[in-house]
Each structure stands twice: as C-alpha cells, then as structure tokens.
C-alpha cells in the first residue's frame, strides 16, 4: 500500500469494527436461537469478510484468528456443529481480541509483539470445536490423464510439427482442450487461453463436428478442439488453464524437475518480508534495533537454507550499523532472493499494547456515503435557513425605511415559499443522516450479558423500537449515557435473585431499553423492574452531602427529591461497585444528554422499579432558540428549556435569604439576573416590571431576568474558537439573518457561576 494506503487503512478499520460488532450481535442472538440459519449465515459472512479484508494488511495474527473462527463457523453453517454458549464464549473472546488489535493497528500501524502468541492460543481454542472429520481432498486442478492417442485425427502437417515440438529434448506438457458448447456464455475465449499459454511451442485447432454454414449455424455453440504442446512446467500450465480445468486434459511427457531447495515458498516469503521491512523508512532512533532484529532473522534463516553463514550475516549487520545504512544487509538479502524486494508498509515503533479500552463506544462510519459530503450538504441547508431568515428583516425595512407596505407583503409571501422549500430540503438532508437506534442498542446486548454474569443477577434484556431513527451524531452521543444507565439498572436497580424471591417477584429481573418517536423528539427509556429509588434515602443523603438543607428536604415533593440524584457528586450506592463505580454518577449522564440538546427525567416506584427517560431532538444540527437581549447584545437560550416568559412587577418579588424568588403555580422559583453570572454591567436602573424567562434546568426551575425578550429563531450553531472557545457558559454562536452574531448560552454552565 503506498499512496491511498492510509485511506484504505481507515476504511478497513471502520468496516472491521462494524463487522466485529455485527458478528458479536449475531453471536448473542444465536445463543438464544441457535437454529436461526439466517443468523448463522450473517455471522459467517461478517467473519468471512473480515478475514478477506484483513489479508490486505500486515496483520497476520488477526487474519489467523478470524480464519480459525471462520473454519468453525463454516462447520456450524454446514450443520456439523452446534453453536453452544461455550463456543460463543471463545468466539466472543476472539472478537474482543480482534477489536483490540484493530485499535492497536489503528494507533501503531502494526500489531503488538505478543499478538502471534495470542493468535496461536485463540486459534487452538477455536480448533478444538472443529469436527475432525477428514476433509475430503480438494479436487485436483488437472483433468483426466491424457490418452496416448491424443494426436489422432490431426492433419498430416500438424502431426509433423507436433513431432518436431515433442523432440525438443526437454520435458513438455501436452494439452488437449475441448471447450464445452456453452463456454462463450461464461465469458470464455478458448483461443485466447491457448494463444496466451505459457511456453506454447505448437497449437492445432480442429472442429469437433462438421461446421456447416447456413441458417442453422450457431456461432455461439462452441465446436472446436485445441491441442497444444508447451515447454512450461506442468504447474504453470495447470494454473493458466485452471478456469477451464474441467474441459482440459493435461499430460506431462517427462516429470518436471523437482523444485530447488532455495525456492521453498515459505523461506522465500520470509526473506521477502524481511527485505520489505528493511526497505521501509523508519525512525532514526530505531535503526540499530531494526538492524539487530533483521540480523537475528537472517541468521536463523540463511544458514538453514544453505544460502549463507551466520558469520556473514553478523558481518553485514556490523557493516550496516557502522554505515548507518541497511545496504549491507539488503545486499545479503538480494543475493538470497533473485528478484529485488518491493517496498511495503510496516514500520517498527515503540509498542503500546494492553491499554486498549474495552467496550468504549467509538465514532463509526455507519453511513456508507462519504460523511463529509453529507455534512457539507447539511451545512449548506443550514446556511440557507439563516439566509431565508433574513427576508423578514428585509420586509420590515421595506415597510419601515422605504415605506412600501406592498413590497413588504411581497417579500413576506416570497419568504413563505422559501420557508416551505427550505423545510423540505432540510428534512430531506436530515433523512440521509438518520440511522436506526438499533446500531447503538445492539452493542448493549453484550454489555448486559457480561454484567449479568459479573454480578450474578440473571435477567431478561428487552430491546424495543430499535428501528426508530435519529440523527447519526445524536445516536452516537447516546452510547455513553446509555451504558451508564444500563449499568446502573443492572447494578443498583435490580435486586439479587434471593431478594426478588423474598419480595414475591420472579428471580429473573428485567431491563428494558426502548425507543419511540414523539413528534420531533425521540424518546429513549431505560427501565428496570427492581427495587426503585428510595426517596427517603435520597433526601437523607442530599442533606448529608450538604446539597440541600434538612428543611428544604422535608418540603421537597418526591418528584423533585428524585432529581437530586442528578446533582453532581451524588451517589446512592453504599459502596462504589466496580461496575457503575469509577466515580461516574447520574449527573454526568444528565450533562451528556443535555449537551446533545436533550432532557432527562426519572420515574421510580418503590419495589416496582425505576425508569429513566431521555428525550432528544431528532436532529441537533438546527437549534431552536429563544432570543433575549442583555446589555445591548443578543443571546440565545435553547427553546426546549424555556417554560414560559413572564413580566413580574417588582412588588411581587419575595426577598428572604439568598436570591429573590417568585411564586408560579404555587411554587417558589429562584430568580437569577442573567447579567450577573455573565459579568455584564449592572442594569442602570431597575425597571418597574422585570422580564423573566422561566427555564427548566437540572437544578429545577429558575427564572432568568433579562433586559428584553426577542423572537424565537432557528439557527445552525457554530462552535466557538479563539479566545471565546474557553468560555464554558457559551455553547456556540450563530449568524443571524440580519448579519449580527447571536451567542448561545449553555444555561447549566451559566448557573454554575455565582449569581
């Protein structure tokens, strides 16, 4: 692989990971339905394709493992073996290893040093399953032996020429080729096969039946016979005619000479590989190491093959080290190998094996179209939306500045047309980016299986609505939060089988992962039928952690108390288990969901279980914002967080301790003057009526005091760069239709600042 090699590698890695994943899913399903032959077929196909692809790259141990897996699966496919959980375990181990190797190959361009050994181990474990029924011998390439009278029926002139060719002295191969009558319909051109025959010294063509011109003559019924003599080796001729072997009889007049020992294909392959490795440029600091290991390989190979002494190899190594060039070793290799080595990739580098994180969700190319192109399309559609939103500004100017109401009306009518088309365009582009949630759900089957075994809680994992589609980025961002939620459900949510029996529930717990569409949102639920959240304990813990006061805890309705577990640093589990441990709690999950523009809610019933609901926009590329004005600038607040806008007279504020509060629907809501966390200048004078934007946050409802409300809008957020990139309270910026810049607030972050 030279130019284009890296993109090919990327392609291989993306596809390889997809294949490993789909093979894993098939395996897990097969454990439940071992007789599903369609599943077996797709499992086999995934492994088979992986093997084929891997052969293109310098990853022989990986190829070996998938090859061994393919062999076993072939037997399963043929019905000679049944896939049991033992076999599934080994196959899953093999897939895990392959996955780790793909990661290693991604980082290092080669596999870790111990890969060979690991591959042998896995291959051996896989081989155990194989039926050791004697495989039927492969049918040979050569046709039936040539009868002694193969020259019969030839014209005298041909016979004489054949005799001459046969008397050349050396060994010759005799070929008798009668193409079958339908051979043209397989794309065969027998004459071409014969004319390109290696070592051809004689060729005769005869008809197998009289060729009679006339209306009945069919040029596409082959009726010829070819006889030829070649001085090439039998195997060369056989290889050349392999495609038509069934139609050819081949005979050797004298046995071909035995292959010389120097042409041992294995030795040759090894030497060639060494030469290729030497020819590769490598980092200068690794030069001495490379020369030394090359010399070790050569001193093992060459003396055994009688191609050189160990001393010669060592001398060449020393020469190479002294010269700082591999030339001496290369010359030695070239002498052993007749053809010169070709450059091929594989540069030795400091190995960093192990460290492959397990089951980490990866960004994968699920779309088989170049994603950059779709992203570009999406971006252009987004810009069109922004440009379209400029028309109402224009209409206002037409009316206000130029006093033409008629023109303003026409512009607005035009705007409606644009609106419709752009909407449709946007929908169409978003459709392309839609992928089924199944692509992320499927990888959880394995996770749940492993978790259930690890904590010894047998359970049923129900997946629903896998076909529900959402934007690719949203789907990918879902992976990590869902892993946490599922881990929580299995680890904390479900009781042990004994506890469940004692509570009169079936010993087997249930974890349900479901997805459905609700208008323009996708709703994902992770539900367990476990013990439910102990709200009293949540309150106690929150007080203990100093998150709220005991008074607040007592007054808090259950629903709000439940949301306390979403606060940073909260964990209800007495001990941090090795499953959901690692200090990651629900707060992280909530943050991740919100970052994708979604919301998270909780429901729990003691003894009945807990349900976590994630609601996400179908697409996050276009965001709906509520615009507000602060200190002369415009800011955007995600519309999905806005509950209501209100004008509150100063005298309705409750000023006790801490920030002022207002009462809405019998509840106290704290007010935050947005100018303060954003460190804007204080308002010159307090207005008589405050403009308050009431938003739902992870901390509950908050009223945001702004200078003025503006309209809602749709924008394509652009990430911030430069000095603004470091500001956590801004999630991005967008260009408005009138050319001004809108800063988009990340309210969760904003509210973390003192106010």
């Amino acid at each position: 692989m030279s130019e284009g090699g890296s993109s090919l590698k990327e392609q291989f890695l993306i596809e390889g990971r997809d294949l490993v994943e789909s093979a894993g899913e098939c395996l897990l399903r097969l454990e439940k339905e071992p007789d599903d032959s369609a599943l077996v077929a797709s499992l086999f196909r995934a492994v088979h394709t992986l093997k084929g692809n891997s052969g293109l790259f310098p990853v022989p141990p990986l190829t070996r493992v998938v090859h061994a897996a393919e062999d076993v699966l072939d037997e399963v496919r043929a019905g000679n073996l049944t896939l049991d959980s033992e076999m599934a375990d080994v196959l899953l181990d093999a897939l895990d290893q392959v996955s780790a190797w793909l990661d290693a190959f991604d980082r290092l361009d080669h596999l870790p040093d111990e890969a060979d050994e690991v591959a042998s181990g896995l291959a051996a474990r896989l081989a155990v399953f194989r039926f050791d029924a004697d495989a039927p011998p492969e049918p040979g390439d050569s046709g039936p032996d040539l009868a002694a009278d193969w020259l019969d029926g030839l014209p005298a002139g041909d016979l004489a020429a054949a005799e001459t060719a046969l008397r050349t002295g050396g060994p010759v191969v005799l070929i008798d080729y009668t193409p079958d009558s339908g051979c043209f319909f397989r794309g065969e051109d027998p004459l071409r096969f014969m004319l390109t025959l290696p070592g051809r010294v004689w060729l005769a063509v005869t008809a197998t039946q009289p060729l009679l011109p006339g209306p009945d003559f069919d040029p596409y019924q082959a009726a010829l016979r070819f006889r030829a003599i070649s001085t090439a080796s039998l195997s060369e001729v056989q290889t050349h005619l392999a495609y038509v072997a069934a139609q050819v009889a081949i005979g050797a007049q004298t046995p071909p000479p035995a292959a010389p020992s120097t042409a041992d294909p294995v030795l040759r392959a090894l030497l060639e590989a060494t030469a290729e490795a030497l020819a590769c440029p490598g980092p200068a600091e690794a030069f001495a190491g490379r020369m030394a290991s090359t010399a070790t390989v050569l001193s093992a190979l060459l003396p055994q093959a009688g191609l050189g002494a160990e001393a010669a190899v060592m001398a060449a190594r020393d020469q190479a080290l002294a010269a700082g060039q591999a030339t001496a070793l290369q010359d030695l290799l070239a002498a052993a190998l007749a053809p010169k080595p070709a450059p091929v990739a594989a540069s030795p580098a400091a190995a960093d094996p192990a460290a492959a994180p397990k089951a980490a969700p990866r960004r994968q190319g699920v779309l088989k179209v170049d994603q950059a192109r779709i992203d570009m399309l999406m971006k252009l559609a987004g810009e069109l939306i922004v440009a379209k939103n400029g028309l109402p500004f224009l209409a206002n100017r037409a009316e206000e500045v130029f006093g033409s109401r008629a023109m303003a009306r026409e512009i607005r009518a035009q705007f409606d047309v644009f609106n419709r088309i752009v909407d449709e365009l946007q929908t169409a582009v978003m459709q392309v980016r839609m992928v089924p949630l199944g692509s992320v759900f499927d990888r959880f089957r394995r996770l749940v299986r492993d978790l259930s075994r690890q904590v010894d809680k047998p359970l049923v994992f129900v997946v629903e609505g896998e076909e529900t589609e959402a934007d690719k980025n949203i789907v990918e961002d879902l992976g990590e939060p869902l892993i946490h939620l599922i881990r929580n459900a299995v680890d904390h949510g479900l009781e042990t089988p004994a506890e469940r029996r004692a509570a009169g529930k079936p010993a087997e717990g249930q974890v349900r992962l479901s997805a459905r569409l609700a208008e323009d949102k996708v709703v994902i639920e992770v539900a367990d039928d476990g013990r439910g959240v102990d709200v009293a304990r949540v309150r106690a813990k929150a007080v203990e952690r100093g998150l709220i006061s005991a008074d607040e805890a007592a007054q808090m309705p259950d629903e709000a108390a439940l949301r306390l577990i979403l606060r940073a640093g909260f964990s209800t589990a007495e001990t941090i288990s090795n499953l959901s441990g690692r200090g990651v709690g629900m707060d992280v999950v909530a943050t991740m969901v919100e970052r994708s523009g979604g919301t998270l809610s909780l429901r729990s019933q003691p003894g009945r279980g807990t349900t976590v609901t994630i609601t996400l926009p179908l697409s996050m590329t276009v965001r709906r914002l509520m615009m507000v004005e602060l200190d002369g600038s415009q800011y955007g607040v995600p519309l999905e967080m806005v509950l209501e806008t209100a004008r509150i007279p100063q005298d309705q504020l409750h000023r006790h301790l801490g920030p002022p509060q207002i009462v809405r629907r019998d509840r106290l809501i704290p007010l935050c003057d947005l100018r303060r966390p954003l460190r804007l200048a204080p308002r010159p004078q307090e207005p008589a009526e405050l403009s308050v934007l009431i938003v739902a946050t992870a901390q509950g409802e908050v009223g945001l005091i702004v200078d003025a409300f503006r309209s809602g809008t749709e924008v394509i957020p652009q990430p911030l760069d430069g000095p603004l990139a470091g500001l956590a309270c801004l999630s991005g910026a967008a260009l408005l239709g009138d050319g001004s810049i809108l800063m988009i607030l990340d309210l969760e972050e904003v509210l973390k600042c003192p106010w």
């Binding site: 043209f184 009679l212 011109p213 040029p219 082959a222």
Partner: protein, 87 residues
Amino acid sequence: MPLVIDGSLARIEGAARVDEAETLVSFLETTADPVVDLGPTNHLHTAVLQVLMAYRPALATLPEDPVLLALLRPLLGEAGPELNRAA
C-alpha cells in the same frame, strides 16, 4: 467496432469480439461474394474463428500478426480463389 463492413468487404481491425460473430454471420449470409480482410487483425474471438472455419469466405489478406497467421494458414489458407490470387 473492430468489424468494418464496406459493401461486400468485411475488414476486421484489431481484436474481433465475441458479439461480432453474429454480425459476421449475417454479413456472410446476406452478401453475394463476400470477402473478409484479416490484414489488420490481431486477435479473433473463438466464436469468430468458428464462423470463418464454417463459411470459409474468400480472404483479401491474411493477418500480419505472425501467431495468428501461423494458426489460420492451415485452417483457412486454401480457402478460396481470392486468397490464392492475392498470395
């Protein structure tokens, strides 16, 4: 198209393809005193070779390509008066 038909002369330029066997047959069937020119030919698909072997048309010239020539001479060499005249 390697098969060029000009009145009663069909010339095969370069490599005759398999589907030209049909065209050649219809040319040979429908043309009075057809002549085939193999001078510029460097390959004949087996199906085309078969047509020539069946119809044995008069040949204007034999191929220049020595391999093809060696193959065709014994097959078509004594084909017809046209070739003998030319040769």
